[in-house]
């Protein structure tokens, strides 16, 4: 099972934990545009993305903004799942049809209790979100055309797969500018464009 292989790669797991996970990990399909969780709801799952693409968004100054995107062979879950089952500040939505492998929140708590070795994996889930936030802060420190260029260098697949309006939201760059930059990139970007 891909989720279990992913967890093994973070830190090798004992046979008892591996067998336990094999017996509880479930598979679910999520259609494009369907929400895994919405702001204010309690998120009940930790999911591994076997196939597909999702976005995590929250509110920036009252406006909905993308925080990051998650594709195949990665974990997606609200940050709060790492600590306690509180109401989520984020929404998670499928941008493509997805196949997810998951465990529930209560199953996760049971694993932490019975298998202390799994704390290493828990820390990795939390670290991931800190890293993603840090990366976005880096990108947002620059002017809009540079933000697009940096994202293209660091996450070219996001540019390729994610709709321009979500890229616009992630980069905090007007949609019209993102469309122009994407077009120019295709024609080989040479220099910045002036923003009016």
């Amino acid at each position: 099972m891909e989720f279990i292989n992913f967890l093994h790669a973070i830190s090798p797991m004992g046979s008892e934990l591996t067998n336990h996970l094999s017996s509880i990990v479930k598979t679910a399909n999520l259609k494009k545009n369907v929400y895994l969780v919405k702001v204010g709801n309690v998120c009940k799952y930790v999911c591994f993305v076997k196939e597909g693409l999702l976005k995590c968004s929250s509110l920036d100054n009252g406006k909905k903004a993308c925080y990051w995107f998650v594709k195949e062979n990665d974990i997606i879950t609200p940050f709060e799942i790492g600590f306690e089952q509180v109401r989520c500040k984020e929404s998670i939505q499928a941008l493509e049809d997805c196949t997810l492998q998951y465990v529930t929140y209560s199953e996760l708590q049971d694993i932490y209790f019975r298998f202390p070795e799994f704390y290493v994996h828990r820390e990795t889930f939390i670290d991931k979100y800190v890293s993603l936030l840090d990366e976005r802060a880096y990108i947002l420190a620059y002017c809009p055309p540079d933000r697009y260029k940096i994202l293209l260098q660091r996450q070219p697949e996001w540019i390729r797969r994610v709709h321009n309006r979500h890229i616009s939201s992630y980069l905090r760059v007007p949609l019209s500018i993102v469309c122009q930059l994407k077009k120019m990139t295709k024609q080989t970007l040479a220099g910045h464009i002036k923003l009016s």
Binding site: D60, E123, V130, A137, Y138, A141, Y142
Partner: protein
């Protein structure tokens, strides 16, 4: 050792863990303007500021963008670089003479393995700095520099007092002249009184 008091304040530690950390923690001094880390290098250590002031910054050609400022009792590291052991996106520079206490990435992994109780500290601190990062993230998105300045003034007045104006201006994304104008708008220009 101050860092041990700090960690004990985060979550009580067993005598064995305290003893172990005492033996592995190292101290580093940094002169004003010296770099602790340069962009492109891997951040191999996590630091505790015993004394001093530092800033993290991004470099774009000959231009600098200040990311944040760290002072006594703060934990300092380049987050993504340290957690993933990849080249850092940011540099870290001393703004005063500094005294830092630190452990390496591999020592941190080792402590967590030997003392599962230390995962409590790791979790609490990571959560704390995640929430700080989220908050600072939100500041960056205020459309007006004066709003960002007001936020700093209300929530981190000690930074306004300590950090040189040119770095505050760099953090806000404005020139020093613009920063002075914002200050005058908030406090009133002496000539207007």
């Amino acid at each position: 050792m101050e860092i041990l008091n700090f960690l004990n304040g985060v979550y009580p530690m067993s005598p064995e863990l305290i003893n172990y950390l005492s033996n592995i923690l190292k101290t580093k001094t940094l002169k004003k303007d010296e770099y602790l880390l340069r962009a492109g290098d891997i951040c191999k250590n996590v630091y505790f500021v015993k004394k001093g002031l530092l800033r993290s910054l991004y470099l774009k050609g000959d231009k600098e963008i200040s990311k944040w400022f760290m002072k006594e009792n703060d934990v300092v590291y380049a987050v993504k670089s340290f957690l993933e052991q990849v080249p850092s996106l940011e540099s870290i520079q001393a703004l005063d003479d500094c005294t830092l206490q630190y452990i390496t990435y591999s020592q941190l992994q080792d402590v967590c393995r030997r003392f599962p109780e230390f995962l409590n500290h790791r979790s609490i601190l990571t959560e704390h700095y995640y929430k700080l990062s989220e908050e600072r993230h939100a500041i960056v998105l205020y459309p007006k520099a004066i709003e960002r300045y007001q936020y700093l003034l209300q929530n981190y007045p000690e930074l306004i007092g300590r950090v040189p104006a040119k770095y505050i201006a760099s953090y806000l994304g404005v020139s020093k002249a613009t920063l002075n104008r914002h200050k005058n708008m908030l406090y009133g220009h002496p000539k207007n009184k």
